[in-house]
Symmetry: C2
């Protein structure tokens, strides 16, 4: 079990034979989990707005929903932003989504060397933990972070994954420093996630943008039992 | 107050007008503090073995002590390694030291854009905290880390600096995610530093190399009251 607090820490050759778990709690991976749980067929994460528009045109613009954010806000001409509350069954069931976000997408794209990549958030924490236990492979959690720095919401979620759903950071002894640090953060702050999020830079930005309800939404532990997988450029369950 | 968990996170332009505090608990900054407290005149941190030898030759080989490590072990032809226990008054009083270490030196050299750079370890924690309070400037703690990843010993020391000598991580609310994370780690693990060090990759490497006593040594809080400063290529008090 290893933890990368930002995509910059990922060394692709070290992901070989491992399961990567991508975490961007506020909000990309929470939104992906919500969208797929609500019936979206697949999510295509792409690096840029231009690439998103191009892919949507190639797939047939009316066949897909363009979604994502820049600076936390919806993108002009896109169908949806990056608030999980937008991704209702009415909006997304049966649809393919093309998504570009500031931090989450680069984290996903950094894991292509891994044997497989799972998408995790608090919304599907226990399902991911169970899938990892069943797979029995070495794991690297890759946090999206924020502007190439640690983001506390992601770090606490990574720690929760590292602890396998338990609460005692003592279980992390013997792991790499990165995983021990994440587990200590989870042990300290798992109890009040909405309060934690409100103290993070990502959470404060959302509150300032009038999207404070997203914090409470993304703090729901085990709202869904699905484990999205990223493979061949798309995320499906 | 900001914390960089590795030198890679440092953005030089963002250090302007700030005080940088460099932390490499196991062991470079602990060793520098011990050496200067024991009467060394100054420490010159340099990036490579070759640069260290060249600088020593330019300064007059018999005027300086060459010291440092690679993979935690002393360097062939050098006078001292990187164990603080070697830097006794008998060995270092009145001497200039030229030092090259794997992680600590790059961290020091990453801070040249800062208004000033202080050298911190648990050995001089309270003195650094007092100097920062007196200066009243914004602070960036730069951890040496380990192989471009977070090192728990450094992160806990950074958190102790961020908390200003207090113990409650609640004091970090409102700080950037990085400083909050460091403060949470300090809050969780300040109480048994030797035990903590023994669980880190850096500590385990020292124990394996027969240098386990360095852990206990570097865990001494406030052994010295000095605040070394790095300026013009050298560290002095």
């Amino acid at each position: 079990m290893d933890v990368c607090f930002t995509p910059d820490e990922v060394v692709p050759s070290e992901l070989q034979g491992r399961i990567a778990v991508v975490v961007d709690v506020l909000r990309a991976t929470s939104t992906i989990v919500e969208a797929l749980a609500n019936g979206a067929r697949s999510v295509y994460p792409v690096a840029s707005i231009e690439a998103a528009v191009r892919l949507a045109q190639n797939m047939g613009r009316d066949q897909v929903l363009l979604c994502g954010e820049r600076r936390g806000l919806p993108i002009d001409g896109f169908d949806l932003g990056n608030s999980p509350r937008e991704f209702t069954p009415e909006r997304v069931a049966g649809k393919s989504l093309v998504m570009t976000t500031t931090n989450g997408t680069p984290a996903l794209l950094a894991t292509t060397a891994a044997q497989s990549t799972l998408v995790a958030s608090f919304l599907n924490l226990s399902a991911v933990v169970a899938a990892l236990a069943e797979a029995g492979k070495p794991v690297t959690v890759v946090c999206a972070g924020r502007e190439k720095r640690v983001s506390l919401d992601d770090a606490v979620c990574a720690g929760a994954v590292a602890l396998g759903g338990e609460r005692s950071p003592d279980l992390s002894r013997g792991l790499p420093d990165t995983a021990q640090a994440a587990a200590l953060l989870a042990g300290a702050r798992l109890d009040d996630l909405t309060g934690l999020f409100a103290e993070t830079a990502a959470g404060r930005q959302l509150i300032d943008a009038g999207l404070g309800e997203d914090l409470e939404f993304c703090a729901q532990i085990d709202r869904h039992g699905i484990v999205p997988r990223f493979h061949d450029g798309q995320i499906t369950i």
